[in-house]
């Protein structure tokens, strides 16, 4: 059976508006995913640590303050430094359209601006995870033969 998708919903930085984060967390849970919510005021390091500890498939950042570009840049650098390629990072919140290509350039897999229907977020995450798992399985199948 497919392993349940595990998502870390995270509120990075100082912004305390977490209505969106909580609502999306509830929607992902209703869609059968396992959801962990970090709570407010998380540093990028704290988020990366939580992602490692919980070995999540997806990190969902919620950012409303307008500081999404510096925060995402820092997070992506930190993930790379930790050698963490697995968690797929998606972003939601108040994100102007012109910033979406900038975020994707950094390696953010998907951007869900405020008001995106739950269905689209759920499907988007499922597709990303299943694509990643497919890719990952091929690699891990190979490595299993070497290290049983």
């Amino acid at each position: 059976m497919e392993r349940r998708i595990k998502v870390l919903v995270a509120k990075p930085g100082l912004d305390g508006h977490d209505r969106g984060a909580k609502v999306v967390a509830l929607a992902l849970r209703d869609a059968g995913m396992e959801v962990i919510y970090t709570g407010l005021h998380q540093s990028v390091d704290q988020i990366v640590r939580a992602a490692i500890q919980e070995s999540v498939d997806v990190i969902g950042l919620s950012i409303m303050s307008g500081a999404h570009i510096p925060i995402c840049r820092k997070l992506m650098e930190s993930l790379k430094k930790e050698g963490l390629e697995d968690p797929l990072v998606v972003v939601g919140g108040v994100i102007p359209k012109k910033d979406i290509p900038v975020l994707k350039e950094m390696g953010i897999k998907e951007v869900f601006p405020g008001g995106t229907p739950f269905g689209r977020i759920v499907e988007g995450i499922k597709e990303l995870v299943s694509a990643a798992r497919k890719g990952g399985e091929e690699v891990s199948d190979g490595s299993c033969q070497v290290h049983p």
Binding site: D18, R19, K22, Y37, S65, G66, I69, P96, G114, G115
Partner: protein, 542 residues
């Protein structure tokens, strides 16, 4: 944005109307409905200016005085903010409401690594008295009242406001500041909290107790149902939770040996106007009555003017949409109408571009103009409480009243608001409501024009406020200059004194005023509190 649920038949006739508060609206109301809810003019309304103040706290309402307009303003460095303040005042705005950036709200200096990317972004950056000197330069602080949207460190900012006023030569007896100073609502929604619940509530108490003695024209707390509603609460929960928060603060001061009559007249509220017009009007009318009742029955308040529910009823941001943003101009006008029909004493509107970011000057002025048009062109000053006596409005006002009381009783049963927040109960309730609301929007049961109905596809670009990266550099340079120029030994001495005052459980306000005057920074003063009080650990609500 409508928030009522409309159940329709196949021919699009409305079969059922259910307000967010759960009130089911009938197609027709008449005298029988008033009988059914037990409506009584003297008991339920009274004349305007008379207990229970359902019709308003002034006998003549807007005939004697129009509302105060107080747009939420601040961004970048104090220079930019000072210019915007002056623009708004020159255009007829009658009060200020200062927006601080997130590092300031969280008690961090602009050069703190945690502040990176946030300096001057959602409000004005403030590090020391120097910044207030610039922000309030050329503004008559004895004539203009100032709201300070600050909570976790409201003590620090009120002290700084007193310090700047005195430095400018104003009398502290005459300045009128309203620090928001409502930490429990930050813990429920909005999230700008720092310290654990108990010391945080103590700081709220310090701010109030000090103001009562030293700053007679200040309103030291503005309890905000507004943000609780923005976080998803129903209008009933908005009022019920705000009143229970206020009760928690009253208890804190009563525990210090004060009588509510000494201070409750200085309480103010900040409530949200968005959604169904009639539900809003009923909410505010019921709220005025229940607040007076709450004070008289629960706390034994005697003085008539202490029973007034005073406050800002402002147009909510969560009603605004990114899609078809110009529609928000029209929504703002209807929120302003709802506020005026509700007898708001002070008001403000979120600007039409605020679904994106903080407003451009043009958008902010348009909000101010909307409020001016409602007051001066449309006829809202003509007579007090114009909807009074309507079978419909009086019936739902009574129904709102009952529902608010039920919700307040739930908090009492949990042992009061401090417990209800510490345990995460309120946060859970509010998140659940937000989720239900969002599902209603996505299923189309709740209509939002331009979002789930009459959709246009591509949203036209609007001119937006742009954040300038140089503001942070400028602010940090100015902060470093302050640190170089001040008497550092004196600052250290005062910070030590602040620490011992905080540890001893004495009122921190007098020494904070001294710290501010010596140019101690926001980060340094808050750092002392972080050391003494620690930081709050949110309860898990999932």
């Amino acid at each position: 944005m409508g928030v009522a649920r409309y159940i329709r038949d196949q021919k699009d006739a409305i079969k059922e109307v259910i307000y967010q508060s759960g009130i089911k609206v009938k197609p027709v109301y008449g005298p029988k409905d008033l009988e059914e809810v037990g409506f009584d003019y003297e008991k339920d309304l009274g004349d305007p200016g008379e207990y229970p103040f359902t019709r308003g706290i002034h006998p003549l309402g807007y005939r004697s005085r129009a509302w105060t307009t107080r747009q939420y303003t601040g961004f970048g460095t104090p220079e930019e903010t000072n210019q915007r303040f002056k623009l708004m005042i020159s255009q007829g705005q009658t009060g200020l409401n200062v927006a601080f950036d997130l590092p300031t709200q969280m008690g961090l200096d602009s050069d703190d690594p945690r502040a990176e990317g946030e300096v001057g972004r959602v409000g004005m950056a403030v590090d020391s008295l120097r910044d207030f000197e610039i922000a309030f330069r050329g503004i008559d602080l004895e004539r203009i009242g100032t709201g300070l949207t600050i909570n976790a460190i409201a003590t620090v900012m009120l002290a700084m406001y007193q310090a700047v006023a005195e430095k400018f030569g104003y009398s502290k007896e005459k300045i009128s500041a309203t620090p928001q100073n409502d930490i429990l609502k930050e813990m429920i929604g909005r999230g700008a909290w720092i310290f654990p619940v108990e010391p945080a509530v103590r700081l709220v108490g310090d701010c109030i107790a000090y103001s009562v003695k030293e700053l007679p024209a200040c309103n030291p707390v503005s309890v905000c149902g507004y943000h609780i509603r923005e976080s998803g609460a129903t209008p009933v929960q908005e009022i019920a939770y705000a009143f229970q928060i206020a009760n928690a603060y009253i208890q804190e001061l009563v525990n210090r040996g004060m009588h509510p009559d000494e201070f409750v007249g200085r309480f103010s509220f900040n409530f949200n106007v968005f959604g169904n017009l009639w539900e809003q009007v009923a909410k505010f009318r019921a709220a005025r009555k229940l607040w007076a009742w709450n004070l008289r029955e629960r706390w034994g308040v005697k003085e008539k003017k202490n029973l007034f529910l005073r406050g800002l009823f402002g147009g909510g941001g969560s009603g605004l949409t990114k899609e078809q943003p110009e529609n928000n101009i029209i929504r703002g006008a209807f929120y302003a109408l709802a506020a005026a029909l509700s007898g708001a004493q002070t008001t403000a509107l979120c600007s039409f571009d605020e679904a994106y970011t903080i407003p451009t000057p043009r958008a902010a002025l348009l909000s101010l103009r909307t409020l001016q048009i409602i007051m001066e062109e449309v006829g809202l000053r003509d007579t007090v409480d114009p909807l009074a006596g309507s079978y419909f409005i009086e019936t739902i006002t009574k129904q709102m009243e009952e529902k608010i009381l039920e919700e307040m009783a739930k908090i009492d049963a949990l042992g009061g608001m401090v417990h209800a927040v510490a345990s995460g109960y309120v946060q859970r309730e509010v998140a659940r409501q937000a989720y239900e609301f969002e599902k209603g929007v996505q299923s189309g049961e709740i209509t939002i024009v331009g979002v789930n109905k009459y959709v246009e596809g591509e949203t036209p670009e609007v001119e937006l406020h742009e954040y300038d990266e140089q503001w942070a550099e400028k602010q940090i340079a100015s902060l470093r200059e302050v640190r170089r120029q001040r008497n550092n030994r004196e600052v250290l001495r005062l910070l030590k004194e602040l620490e011992s005052t905080a540890r001893a459980g004495e009122n921190v306000m007098p020494v904070l005023v001294e710290c501010c005057k010596a140019y101690a920074t926001v980060g340094e003063m808050t750092g002392v509190f972080r050391e003494v009080f620690g930081e709050w650990q949110e309860p898990s609500i999932f």
